[in-house]
Amino acid sequence: MTVTVMNLSKRIDGKVVLQDVSFTWQPGQITGLVGRNGAGKTTLFRTMMMQYIPEKGTVCLNEQAINPQANFTQQIFFVDGQQNFFDRSEVQRMADYYALIYPGFQMADFLNTVRHFSIEATARWMDLSKGMQATVLMALALASDAPYIILDEPFSGLDVIARDQVTKLIIQAAADGNHAFLISSHDLEELDGISDRVLILKNHHITHDYELEKLREEAKKIQVVFRHNQVPPLVKEQGTLIRVTGQVLEIIFLKYTDAIDGALHQAQPVFMEELPLTLTDVFRTTAVHDTDYLMGQEDFTHDK
């Protein structure tokens, strides 16, 4: 069972939002979709769900194409948290709609979950707090029995307790290996704790696809002070400088090799220490240009 997104492209108002986006998605994975504001994360979800019609590309579920002309048993769950028609609907009514769409919808499970979080089934969507809305969406997603669940910014605006609740529900559901989550978030720390894999959406396409386990084996974050600010050329080439505090540099190496290790030691730095690598570091390394100038043009230029 696989969802395959192949060369998906979407323009909105003449502007490219997605360009040749391709990836596969399998049950048992919690995949984070990371991108800056306006990168096209929600557009990707809406296009995958045929709310938006792509200019190009396909979305296949077990090799069956998903398009406006196709009939299939819905196995992907996605509720657009920003734009849905449920504003005035009661929670129970929302569930009634989804029970019609998803053949395996477990109404009893849904009601138990919302009750567990002290949410009335008669409450209106618009009257719920953000945390409650996120919980209701999670409860709907899990009750739908859909193997593929898309969550768009599920942690946005939630307090710590609500975040923990949502995170717990995701981890519990993923633990059985039958569910696949695709979660977009700006809250990289939350994704760091739960994702197996991270897709970086940048410049309209997926620029990086990281298996986090593998990434942690290969990548390193080094805090270092070079003698006389002399940075070895290989370090400049392979590393990404993410922070400068006085003479202390924090550098990320996505592929930390023996050659880099050798170059660092050969430079005989005044101080060098490995720091824990977070998903935020990866995001800053791969998705944001804002710090790039530090590496090549300012702090390092004075060394030459």
């Binding site: 994360k41 557009t43 809406r46 709310q51 406006p68 009939n71 028609f85 709609y97 769409i101």
Partner: protein, 340 residues
């Protein structure tokens, strides 16, 4: 999803509107029937006296030679239908515009409601082919529009039956039945037209204005075109005949519904809140308006100077239309900020 579940999903959403359409149509039937009776009673109070009739005979009956008794009988008689297979819409409460407007509104509501309320997002993501979704919408709407109309027609007939003495009620049943079929065709035509506009126009007020303008100006446009091509008589010959009229409106209905299916398959939700839900229609719609409006309005600007009037109207429509269709859409930009 099974067909039954698709139907349930649609009915869950549209039930209230369907009930409302049915109730309003039936009430409309009752209102039209009773109102007509009341009007008859008022009119009957003003039948000229025998003296006045004798004095101003020709004013009332022209050259026809009839007695005063015959004149009174005719004044009091309710004629439904006419002999032959002619279209006699408008001569009876059974076949008048309010029913056509109801069918048009039903078609618009069926499509526009789901787009405007974002219910289409749920439908498009449901795994059901859009053709099936649309079919599941059309069937109950058509059933409600037609059955409630037939119910309203039955109410009108019952009101006539009980409210008008039998000797004053003359019904040409073959003609009435032919007209009933033709009128049902007209209702389907209006419904199909409404559905098509409800599919491609994404904002409420402009949708109402567009449909209202086209509705009000349609006959003028039709007259101008048929006059221009010198085919008015021939065309009316077909439109006067109930059978050919029915065939024409049913063919047009099929075209409108076919276009509705075709457009619906291509609706993409990022254009939600735009005047046109299908961006690529903009040049075509602009062209259509630039042609249609000057023809429909004729010499309204300078009476007697058709060419100048039409030319200026065309330029105004082109400029306004271009601005309206191609201007940056603030609503859309707000959505994009939220959602990209």
């Amino acid at each position: 999803m099974t067909n039954k579940k698709v139907r349930q999903l649609i009915l869950e959403r549209h039930r209230v509107w369907l009930i409302l359409i049915a109730v309003l149509t039936l009430l409309l039937g009752l209102f039209l029937g009773t109102n007509h009776l009341a009007n008859r009673a008022t009119t009957n109070e003003y039948i000229p006296s025998a003296r006045s009739f004798t004095k101003e005979y020709r004013d009332y009956v022209g050259d026809e030679k009839i007695s005063y008794q015959e004149f009174v009988r005719r004044q009091k008689t309710e004629y439904i239908g006419d002999k032959g297979n002619k279209i006699t819409f408008g001569t009876s409460m059974l076949f008048i515009e309010p029913f056509i407007i109801m069918a048009l509104v039903a078609g618009v509501l069926m499509m526009f409601m789901d787009q405007n309320s974002q219910f289409n997002r749920l439908l498009f993501s449901s795994g059901v082919a859009r053709k099936r979704i649309l079919m599941a919408k059309i069937l109950p709407y058509v059933a409600v529009v037609l059955l409630s109309y037939l119910g309203a027609a039955a109410i009108i007939m019952l009101v006539y039956h009980f409210g008008i003495p039998a000797r004053y009620l003359i019904i040409d049943w073959p003609n009435t039945m032919l007209n009933l079929v033709a009128f049902v065709g007209t209702l389907l035509f209006a419904f199909g037209l409404g559905a098509m506009f409800g599919t491609i126009i994404g904002t409420a007020l402009p949708l109402v204005l567009t449909v209202a303008f086209l509705g009000l100006s349609g006959s003028s446009f039709f007259d101008q075109v048929t006059q221009f091509f010198h085919v008015q008589k021939q065309v009316w010959r077909y439109l006067d005949n109930a059978v050919s009229y029915t065939i024409i409106v049913l063919v047009l209905t099929m075209i409108f519904l076919g276009l509705t299916f075709w457009f619906y398959d291509r609706v993409s939700m990022e254009n939600s809140g735009h005047y046109l839900l299908l961006e690529w229609l903009r040049p075509w719609v602009l062209l259509a308006f630039v042609i249609y409006v000057p023809i429909a309005t004729g010499d309204w600007l300078f009476v007697g100077e058709k060419a100048i009037s039409m030319g200026i109207t065309g330029i105004i429509v082109l400029l306004l239309g271009y601005w309206y269709l191609y201007r940056p859409n603030l609503h859309w930009h707000r959505n994009r900020r939220q959602s990209a």
